[in-house]
């Protein structure tokens, strides 16, 4: 079926800006439309922002996405079985593949009402939290670059490398793991993993302090980020923002605690929220510090999970061909590093999914961008985009 393409022109704000001088005169200035991206260095991938600027002041932002659209949902429908979707989930949010795998596996497990063995639950938590640290390290490091500080970026990548080494040790891959499977894991962790994970936890704490000293509490950095891009809590909820974006606005909500899955209820940790320490609640600095503090919490979770890791099987008994009942559907959400990662899976009784919809947190978090970036400067827009921590693989899927 071919329909006529429908092209609706972009709604520009065409009113020219006006600056009033102290003598009461009005200086008229012309607006300029600039294309930021898709090859711009700080759009974190292939995001294109059409920005209308009045000098350095942003009048309007129109995000254009889809440059990295790889038809995840169409692919998922055309797989011959459910397991085959997992590698595609890896490629959605390529900075946090473990969390994506878990999200989809959990959705199918809820549909099939499968209980996974305790060792699997613990290992999944360890992997997801390690991945959360790795992903947040990328986020805060690249955010440093957006602010012009190059050094913290390389420090965070140095530390991320340790986590990738752990993953490589576990499943041979460094970026796209295909490790968490429906009903379990692809295989058990190798001997020595637990010791290495403990070693990482003790290594990481001091490094995080070093990072905070050079970037987080730097005077210039604080002035650049405090009171910039303030996202009020009601707007954040209305736009369904999630993850550090929502918590940065002071909303105490974390799916790991409020919509529990896995074994997160067995560990002691705290949900971090933005408190507006240097400016208004919900500014860029708050979103940044939430990520930094979540890494500390993740280390705490990993330490507890590693200490309590039970022995046992790493694969539940699942049918060889997964065929959920016809008409059964499940929307399952998990807390990925970027926020609420949801998979809506619908089955028609066959061996392949009838419909898979992935609700990417970055996709939704990005939709609030025009709301919070009007009236700020170009440099602030870069800060806001960086603090939203988008991964275009997930936005475009």
């Amino acid at each position: 079926m071919i329909t006529e393409p429908r092209i609706i022109p972009t709604p520009y704000v065409t009113k020219p800006g006006a600056i009033r001088t102290s003598t009461g005169k009005t200086i008229r200035t012309d607006e300029m439309i600039i294309n930021m991206g898709p090859q711009h260095p700080s759009t974190h991938g292939v995001l294109r922002l059409e920005i209308v600027v009045d000098g350095e002041i942003i009048v309007d932002v129109i995000p254009h996405i889809g440059y990295l659209h790889r038809c995840f949902e169409k692919h998922a429908e055309h797989m011959t079985n459910y397991q085959q979707v997992i590698p595609y989930c890896d490629r959605m949010d390529y900075v946090a593949s473990m969390n994506n795998d878990w999200g989809f596996a959990l959705a199918v497990e809820r549909m099939l009402k499968i209980e996974v063995p305790p060792r699997v639950e613990y290992l999944r938590v360890i992997m997801a939290e390690l991945q959360r640290i790795a992903s947040h390290l990328v986020a805060v490091g690249t955010f440093g670059i957006d602010m012009g500080a190059f050094t913290p970026f390389l420090w965070t990548f140095r530390d991320r490398e340790k986590i990738l080494d752990l993953f490589e040790m576990t499943c041979g891959a460094r970026l796209l793991y295909n490790y968490i499977w429906i009903g379990g894991l692809s295989h058990d962790v190798p001997p020595g993993f637990v010791e290495k994970a403990k070693e990482f936890c003790s290594y990481f704490g001091p490094k995080l302090k070093e990072f905070n000293d050079v970037l987080t509490y730097n005077e210039i950095f604080v002035r650049r980020t405090a009171n910039v891009g303030v996202l009020p809590p009601d707007v954040a909820v209305n736009f369904a923002c999630s993850g550090p974006m929502l918590r940065g606005s002071g909303v105490n909500f974390d799916l790991r605690r409020d919509d529990p899955y896995g074994v997160y209820d067995k560990f002691e940790w705290e949900v971090q929220v933005g408190k507006g320490e240097f400016g208004k609640v919900g500014d860029v600095w708050d979103r940044f510090i939430v990520k930094v503090r979540e890494m500390e919490q993740s280390v705490k979770i990993i330490e507890q999970a590693v200490a309590a890791l039970p022995e046992g099987n790493v694969q539940a008994a699942i049918p060889k061909r997964i065929r959920p009942d016809a008409g059964s559907e499940a929307y399952v959400r998990t807390e990925s590093p970027r926020g609420e990662l949801g998979f809506y899976v619908v089955s028609d009784g066959s061996a392949s999914p009838f419909r898979v919809k992935a609700r990417g947190p970055a996709f939704v978090n990005l939709s609030v961008l025009p709301e919070i970036s009007r009236g700020c400067m170009i440099a602030d827009l870069v800060a806001i985009v960086g603090s939203a921590d988008i991964v275009l693989g997930e936005v475009d899927r």
């Binding site: 300029m32 600039i34 711009h40 260095p41 700080s42 350095e56 440093g144 670059i145 957006d146 602010m147 012009g148 500080a149 190059f150 050094t151 390389l154 420090w155 140095r158 050079v214 970037l215 730097n218 210039i220 950095f221 002035r223 650049r224 400067m377 170009i378 440099a379 602030d380 870069v382």
Partner: protein, 348 residues
């Protein structure tokens, strides 16, 4: 040295050309050294090792980089203004290069021993602004335009506090000639203008807070004029792609780089000449003389180049309004107070 060269070659014109070539050679050698130093310093700050393969610890890498830049295709965008686009990098470089003429490298060598030396440097460095504006406008690229406008605004704003800081030193030394100012600071580290210059101890103690302030203001404003982090807004790569040099490639791009590096040394050298004794040895007459003079000036200059590199790889970038805030609302009032106080102390 001028007389010596004229005597040597006989023809004054040739001697003048030779005189002019000396800073150019210096800039080229210095740029290679700084390129290497910057990469190595950055690498060690960032917990890595940088070049290790081209020669011993990668010392040949700067040559390889230059060679690569020479081979690059020289692209001029189709919609660009070809004349201005081509001329802009030369304006930027020449604006910096001619500033070197008035820098006394040692008691024996100063390119042009001008009575108004420092005024001349402040004046000619404004040519850079024209070059940057030309490059931004001629590129026909909105990012480049924004970058060049930022740059022009920045350099013009920071010239005020830097000129005021220069005035403090000039008031104490009583001369606009940088060679004279350097000579004035004879007799060891405590006779430098930053510690109040040679004079009675009471005057020095009274002057020191103000001269120190002026010294830091001059250094900061200098870094801002050289477009280095944390003031690298004109070429903020995370905001403006590459700012004014977005569209440049090959040797034209290298010219901008060369100008930036030359400018780093120029602002360091001005600061050193005015506040830190220029070519004077910090130990009084020990290790002094024309040759040691050159060593001291270059060593002191390179130290501040190193400080700039260090800052670049440590600090984040300011925002445009904060940049203006620092210049107009912090530095300029401070400098007015300094000038007033220094004037009072000197008269008294």
């Amino acid at each position: 040295m001028q007389e010596y060269l004229i005597g040597l070659v006989g023809e004054p014109l040739v001697a003048y050309v030779l005189m002019a070539v000396v800073p150019l050679v210096f800039i080229l050698v210095y740029a290679l050294v700084t390129l290497y130093m910057e990469m190595k310093v950055a690498a060690h700050i960032q917990d890595r090792v940088a070049y290790m393969r081209t020669g011993w610890h990668g010392v040949l890498q700067p040559f390889a980089d230059i060679l690569k830049l020479l081979q690059k295709e020289d692209i001029i965008p189709a919609q660009a203004d070809r004349l201005l686009f081509t001329a802009a990098p030369f304006f930027v470089f020449v604006g910096t290069y001619v500033g070197f003429a008035a820098i006394p490298f040692s008691s024996g060598y100063v390119g042009a021993d001008l009575n108004l030396g420092i005024l001349y440097i402040v004046a000619v460095s404004s040519i850079v602004v024209a070059g940057l504006l030309m490059s931004g406008w001629a590129s026909n690229n909105k990012w480049a335009l924004l970058g060049s406008l930022r740059s022009a605004a920045q350099i013009v704003s920071y010239e005020i506090p830097s000129a005021l800081a220069i005035l403090v030193a000039v008031m104490i030394a009583g001369s606009l000639n940088l060679n004279e100012v350097s000579k004035f600071q004879e007799g060891g580290i405590f006779n430098w203008v930053v510690f109040g210059g040679p004079g009675p101890v009471v005057t020095k103690l009274l002057l020191t807070p103000f001269t120190l302030t002026a010294f830091f203001v001059l250094l900061t404003a200098g870094i801002a004029e050289a477009n280095r982090t944390p003031f690298d807004l004109p070429e903020a790569e995370s905001e403006l792609v590459q700012g004014f040099n977005t569209e440049y490639s090959g040797m034209k791009f290298a010219m901008f780089y060369l100008a930036e590096y030359a400018n780093m040394f120029l602002v360091s050298a001005i600061t050193v000449c005015l506040f830190l004794g220029g070519w004077q040895s910090p130990f009084g007459s020990f290790m002094s003389g024309p040759y040691w003079g050159a060593f001291w000036l270059i060593a002191k200059g390179m130290f501040f180049v190193f400080v700039q590199v260090w800052m670049r790889w440590t600090l984040p970038r300011l925002r445009v309004d904060q940049l203006m805030h620092v210049s107009w609302k912090v530095m300029v009032p401070f400098m007015f107070v300094c000038i007033f106080a220094v004037g009072l102390i000197l008269v008294w």
